[in-house]
Amino acid sequence: MSMINLKHIRYVLTENPLTLVSFSLFLMFVVIAIIGPSLVPYDPLASETQYALQPPSTLHWFGTDQLGRDIFSRVIVATRLDFFIALVAVLLSFVIGSVLGAVAGYFGGWWDRIVGRLLDTIMAFPLFVLAMAIVAAMGNTVENIVYATAIINLPFYARVARAEVNVLRNAPFVEAALVSGNSHFKLLSMQIFPNAMPPMMVQLSLNMGWAILNAAGLSFIGLGVKPPDAEWGIMVAEGANYIISGEWWVALFPGAVLMLAVFCFNLLGDGLRDIFDPRKRT
Amino acid sequence: MTIPLLQVQDLCVNFQTRLGQVRALENINFSINKGETVAVVGESGSGKSVTASAILGILDKAGRVDKGEIVFAGMKLLAFSQRELSEIRGREIAMIFQNPRAALNPIRSVGRQIEDVLQTHGPVAQGDLRERALSALRDVNISSPEHRYHQYPFELSGGMCQRVMIAMAISCRPSLLIADEPTTGLDVTTQANIMDLIKQKATELNMSTLLITHDLNMAAQYCDRIVVMHAGHVVESATTAELYANPSHPYTQRLIAATPADHGSVDDIAAIPGNLPNLLHDTPNCRFAARCEWVEEKCRSEPLAYVQLGASHEVACWRAQYYASA
């Protein structure tokens, strides 16, 4: 962690302009997610069927959908929902995953085996299929999308945490601390964990992108988010029916914004990697 | 006076790094005659491997030959394209490396690897390929070559891997073999075996050898002439006998003093104080100045002086004229 100082961060930001762009984009999205819904021009749920399927205009920047709802407002509002889902899911999987991984890496033995089996079982499924199964089994709600996304992302954090903790466990300072009477838990939380953090930070950003895609994908096939809620995936699904007849805007705008958000997180992940762990550039 | 097989003249090599330009080699001069074995001796970082890489044209991407000439059998190698060089590599000039197991393709059988080299410098009829490979293995005293042929580097000992590399190198009967620290990483007995093998083959094939090493004793034992390098400069070059009789550069003297075999016990090893200078900064003209006990102002301000001490004895130290070693 001592390697990371402002000078280094500034160097990374200026060296690759894309990183700067992604940081700014990320901030923009965060701002939209927080204050956007209170600033939208139209009620995202208000349907006025006489204005259905109108192309983009000065009145409706993104046009209207099949129920006459303003797409621009819905896209803005959807930002909050999608970010919320992604954030909570990723945080959950991060916390649970890294704890599991840390325990497995630190104590080894049976712990390692049990956690290993659990992870293997999760990873035995194609991840999206597992998410589908979980949401279908637990019920068609937004919360369950969060849980499903959290579960399928667990293994990444568990593995990274386990690997890092395993390496650090044998470090001399750990031996010294143990000898001077520190408990395992204190050691794990105070000393080892902060050192294992940097590579996981990169993973967090990338996972946010995947989590958004996952949530959108589930909504697209009808799992999780239900109409009339505004979420990017379900908006694309609704717009899909109108692509063939030429009303492209219904699906395009939510899809484009979705893509932008994921792109932003991917670039951000690359930038974070350059800051925290430059050795692993690909 | 015969024309040397290889002549390196005023060679200068620069490396472009993130922190600046590193002048890895400056005015390197030496030559190798037909059938001769020459050693280039120095600490790690002295530039000896860079010299070897420059000859073959396999310098790291960041490296560039700034000045100088490399003449091999009348050909000016620095003017050659990569394509032209690849015709010479393995056929006229061959090279073997340290850490032989890592220097071989881990997922290809040793037999196939030898065949690859044979085929490159062919033409060899398909049917003969295997036979030639087997005979190459026999050539380096590898027993049961038919069995070894199918094996992979990880199944062979370090010494065996080095033999394989030698087999690949001499398979096309090159006139010059460059051996870059061929015994590093091997145990002492194997080291001797490998060096004996190289010597044997060199004599058999009338092949010149350029031995790169940090082991002065090995150089003394196997080589006709020794070139001593320090921080990218050639500081002294002479025949082995002459070098030991009259080591004239302070560095050479220290090197000889620091080499275990010359002394009865390990305690007598006199370490050479100081480290290699940082070649990024303005290098003083003599790069040994910081570590030399006889350094004077002249050493830092004037360009390096090369003094001819005898028929084939050259030293890069102005004091050498006045001070013969004890």
Partner: protein, 341 residues
């Protein structure tokens, strides 16, 4: 030869815990899905008595572990329940639709490999050049695209606007009859039947869905190829090969790429996970009659025997694909043969 067989067998054994885990999860799934397992196991044509009989058969009145045993028995006997929507056994439906999904996934994989690997190699031989940077950006964009969105966009652009793509309504245009079934893969079957017209018609329908599906995995493949090649090209044995005068092509391909293949194969696991998962989305967008669209219909209709069957089928497929990767790995790397496994 014998050693290869030994390793393959060893890998098969290693897959067993994964399969056990999968069966447990799907068992939990059947009990966790809303509704009465007996009802949806019985199918649409069931009446009260047959449902009661099925309930007894499934052992739903027995303790959990007994139920599990019965469940596993049923699985192995091919009794995966009956589909509510079609009335036919789930396993039959899956079997009928599986070739469509596999053909699509395979084509997507071929597309991705053919594009990503050479791109990755090119980037590795010219690091930090403009080619390298452009590839990076393109490939990062590819992995940001939501698959379903890309599909829709392609349909809009190529079908609606440009009119060069066929109507996205499945594997074959209505005017054609599907080729006589040998493998279930239209491409192969039409070739076997010698019918070029149907071959090209099927190919046309495949192009857009396959590209849509494969686009997402271009990134991990190209990135890994680049990284792996860079690492291999910097290694000692490449230097030896060059020093021995081996031609540049041989160094790059036989010595470079083959060695770089190993980490790329490892990436394939993740690639297959994406492909199988996104398969569902692509099948919905292009109305592709595979097991993915079957599952989506089943979800909507609360046809839970079908959903469970789909999950199980996908998981087993994934396990087998991973097995294939492992076997391929041992074939490429002779060192693996000799390790304990």
């Amino acid at each position: 030869m014998w050693k290869t067989l030994q390793t393959v067998l060893g890998r098969l054994l290693q897959a067993i815990p994964a399969i056990i885990g999968i069966i447990i999860v799907t068992f939990v799934l059947t009990r966790a899905l809303p509704g009465d397992p007996a009802v949806y196991f019985a199918g649409p044509a069931a009446d009260k008595e047959s449902i009661a009989a099925i309930r007894h058969e499934l052992g739903l009145d027995k303790p959990m572990y007994a139920q599990f045993v019965i469940y596993v028995e049923n699985l192995f006997h091919g009794n995966w329940g009956t589909s509510l929507t079609t009335g036919r056994p789930v396993i039959e439906e899956l079997g009928r639709r599986l070739p469509a999904s596999i053909e699509l996934t395979l084509c997507a994989l071929i597309f991705a490999v053919v594009i990503a690997l050479p791109l990755g190699m090119l980037s590795a031989t010219r690091p930090d050049s403009w080619i390298d940077h452009v590839t990076r950006v393109l490939v990062t964009m590819g992995v940001s695209l939501p698959t379903f969105f890309t599909g829709l966009f392609f349909i809009y652009l190529f079908y609606y606007k440009l009119g060069i793509a066929p109507s996205p309504l499945g594997r074959l245009d209505v005017v054609y009859l599907s080729p006589p079934k040998v493998t279930g893969f239209y491409l192969i079957d039409s070739l076997i039947a010698g019918d070029w017209e149907i071959f090209f018609a099927s190919l046309k329908q495949l192009i857009l869905p396959a590209i849509t599906l494969g686009l997402f995995v271009l990134a991990p493949l190209a990135r890994m190829t680049r990284a792996s090649m860079l690492q291999v090209l910097a290694s000692d044995f490449i230097r030896t090969a060059r020093a021995n005068g081996l031609p540049a092509r041989k160094v790059l391909l036989t010595y470079g790429f083959r060695n770089a293949l190993l980490p790329i194969l490892t990436t394939m696991g993740m690639v297959f996970s994406f492909l199988l998962g996104s398969n569902v989305l692509v099948e919905k967008v292009y109305a592709w009659p595979g097991i993915g669209s079957f599952a989506i219909e089943a979800l909507v209709a609360s046809d839970y025997a079908a959903v469970q069957g789909f999950v199980l089928a996908m998981a087993i497929l994934y396990v087998m694909l991973n097995l294939l990767i492992d076997v391929a790995y041992t074939l490429v790397d002779p060192r693996v043969k000799f390790s304990g496994g």
